[in-house]
Symmetry: none
Subunit: 495 residues, 2 copies
């Protein structure tokens, strides 16, 4: 007789096929789909979402889990069961009809947000945002919490993280960041690079593919496409796709979204086959995921050693950069200054963008802030955190799509990712020694192997706390980020 665990495996495998279809529909929508297909695509995506949820939340799943728990299992099977149980219970917390409503409304809200951003008009978006916010408040109630509703949503992205703990981190991090930023003001600010040239997109594509190859990205298990908002999509266990965007006058700009997304992709591809149970949610948390992209983007991609190593590759494709040296390039990608847009902020002030969003979304979910308060509060907080004033809503409260698609609780993981990355980086240096030398000679596989061994190996079996402790031997400690950032930026600013 077939064991229940085997039946459960077959059952979940089938679910993963629906995940693949859903992921492909979504990846295609954001890359190659012609615009007239939009309406149809929404229906097709809804259909597959419903199929998938119906299968996962069926009585059969519950029964198979229950009887598999009675069986004597090998370690691999126990891990598998743990992963399945968590996903099942998590999805089970929210009534299916609320999930379907959320899926439908967020498609509409995404379109409304896109349009409002183009029109620079918050008011036309607000009614839709209110619907989404209310649904998210409802979801928080369904999920349950001890202290505050926001915790229920934060937990979706960062297991066992609480808003109060994020508060603690911010309380410690904020003064030290402010101190470092003001110290840098006494240093020599690098100049922004402007070549005045045009760089053909196909050549930029070539360059970015080269970078992904250098990082160890396997083009037989993924690809690189163009999309307005860079993202990484897991389509299947051996099919993880990266997208980036280009600026015709600035090929340096593009390199960072590409490396960033490449870092995400390496994580997804690095999870060992036996832990690849689902297509989504392969990772310990979104914060740990972000630690991977940030490590590659900032610790590697914005290091002096990287630019020294990479300079011949860059100038082979774009000879104009021979007029600058690699050190100037390195400095130019490490300018610290308050700016409007989160996604292009520097490593230090980036965290203020997150603090601002965390306060706002926490208030919205806990019921202290209404959507109509947002534009005013946004601008107030931009003033207080970064001392700048958005000239319009498109570059202010409307800049991110997260709230439109119901990703409340997501933003803090970006900041946590920065902190995790620095802590992992510190331990990596202890373990493998001279990382700078590895980067300088392009031996990125040493870095990747360390991440595989210490982080990727667990897949989603453990949460972020356990993974961080297993890899570094201690709890989250913001000293590592401040130490890394202090050393680096003092060097950049000649202090």
């Amino acid at each position: 007789m077939t064991k229940s665990i085997e039946k459960l495996r077959a059952h979940i495998k089938k679910y993963s096929y629906y995940e693949t279809m859903a992921a492909l529909l979504s990846w295609d929508q954001h890359t190659y789909m012609p615009v007239k297909s939009t309406e149809n695509r929404a229906e097709v995506a809804a259909e597959i979402t419903e199929l998938a949820l119906t299968l996962l939340l069926s009585e059969e799943t519950g029964d198979l889990i229950e009887s598999a728990e009675q069986e004597t299992l090998e370690e691999q099977d126990r891990d598998f069961l743990t992963i399945v149980k968590r996903e099942y219970r998590d999805k089970k917390k929210v009534p299916q009809d609320l999930q379907v409503r959320m899926a439908k409304e967020s498609t509409r809200a995404y379109e409304a947000w896109k349009q409002a951003k183009i029109n620079n008009n918050f008011n036309e978006f607000e009614p839709m945002l209110k619907i989404i916010t209310d649904l998210q408040r409802e979801e928080a109630q369904c999920r349950g919490y001890e202290t505050e509703p926001y915790d229920a949503l934060l937990d979706k992205f960062e297991r066992d993280m609480k808003a109060a703990e994020v508060d603690d981190i911010i309380e410690k991090l904020k003064p030290r960041l402010l101190e470092l930023v003001s110290e840098l003001e006494k240093g020599k600010k690098p100049r922004r690079l402007e070549t005045g040239e045009t760089f053909p997109i196909h050549k930029q594509q070539e360059l970015n593919k080269e970078i992904l190859k250098l990082m160890g990205f396997d083009f037989d298990a993924g690809n690189l496409s163009l999309s307005p908002h860079p993202f990484t999509a897991s389509i299947a266990p051996q099919d993880v796709r990266v997208t980036t965007r280009y600026r015709e006058n600035d090929p340096i700009y593009t390199i960072f979204p590409t490396i960033h997304e490449g870092g995400h992709a390496l994580y997804e591809l690095g999870v060992p086959p036996e832990k690849q149970v689902f297509i989504e949610n392969l990772a310990a948390s979104f914060g740990i995921h972000e630690s991977q992209s940030r490590f590659w983007e900032n610790m590697v991609g914005r290091s002096l050693e990287f630019w020294k190593f990479f300079f011949p590759t860059l100038t082979a494709i774009f000879p104009v950069f021979k007029n600058v040296n690699y050190e100037t390039l390195w400095r130019s990608v490490n300018i610290v200054e308050p700016s409007l847009i989160r996604t292009s902020a520097d490593e230090l002030t980036y965290n203020f963008h997150i603090m601002l969003r965390f306060e706002l979304e926490r208030g919205m979910i806990n019921g202290d802030i209404e959507t109509s308060d947002l534009p005013g509060l946004w601008n107030e907080k931009m003033k207080s955190y970064l001392d700048i004033q958005p000239p319009n809503h498109s570059d202010g409260v409307l800049q991110d799509m997260h709230w439109a698609v119901g990703l409340y609780g997501y933003f803090p993981t970006y900041m946590l990712g920065n902190l995790y990355a620095a802590q992992l980086y510190n331990k990596m240096k202890q373990d493998i020694g001279d990382i700078d030398a590895s980067i300088l000679s392009g031996r990125f596989e040493e870095l990747l192997q360390w991440m595989r061994r210490e982080v990727h190996v667990h897949g989603s079996l453990y949460g972020p706390r356990e993974v961080l402790e297993k890899a570094t031997g201690e709890k989250l400690n913001i000293d590592y980020f401040m130490q890394y950032a202090g050393e680096k930026f003092r060097r950049v600013y000649d202090l």
Copy 2:
């Protein structure tokens, strides 16, 4: 109470969503999917095929059809019912598990074929081909036939066509083609164009997009991608995608697959919404489909008028062609000579490539030929039809993917397409007068509108015979092809 016809519409709409997913999975496999996703993709494709078939072949479909037939229906509803019934009955002929096995094995066989072609190794492909051939033989038995098993498969692509009738056509066509080809030998053979230059792929892409736009292809309802074997994919009613391939040293070569696939796409996009019931099988037949691609490729794209009109566009992107004149270009794309590869054969000898394949696949399905006989028979027939010997299997028996993916019975539709195209072209000239002048001034919409009115308008409501007779007022007559070809090539060859 909702009428059964309305319920049936909702039911079939849902089926069409599954078709969209299946089509996207397949398009993606042939364009962007990384190779390591292959095995998984086969499973996912099989899963969606099963879902789709289960829905279409359900008792519910049969019941809804039956009760809708009892209702008083408007013309549009009657047409809808006719189209649904035919598809339902057709799919019902083949057991679901055979269809699912076919879907799964053909995904694998396609990859095996691709690899074998690269390796120039028929033997490594043969076991997979045998599996596919056996499945196709089984399908022929399930579908049923009067005279020979092959008829059952031919009917899938060309409704009511029989192998014996194809035989008759070949018997008449072959001597007249041979006669014309040998007449041309007395003429002035155009020289093949070789620039010795390299033409960047991204510029070729630009050129090919321009051509599709000129033809009236709507890039908001489709796109152009790269694939090793050019094809057109209907993903959704307003989402029809074209692929082509490039040769770095020859931008003229690519133009024809692009125009060809563009012709297919215009047909799919030209079927009126009320006849767009399914995503697949929108057309009268594959032969009629091919008449559209051939019309655009050969009657338009290889005409002197087209090259005169197109010359400024071409030379704007590739100025090197200013060294040649448009007439030389026109002649160079109309050289008649025996060649190895079907897809790049001239309009006359192309038909010999089809005759050869027809004989082989007919023999394979009827049980007279085994897969192991193929390489030998291929080379023999190449010698007898075209008097050339393939130097390797990649350019011989392995050149086409059709058999790998189970498209037995498809090849004859290419030849029929040539013949239909000429007959439609003749009628179009009678109806709208000076087509040459339209082409010369780039008024392609006049040609497209005629095709929409006379051919596309029917969708799949009628079969190829009825569509041809409705559009031209008579049955298939090969004289039109011979007349068109004779006039054209005597002009090319200065006879």
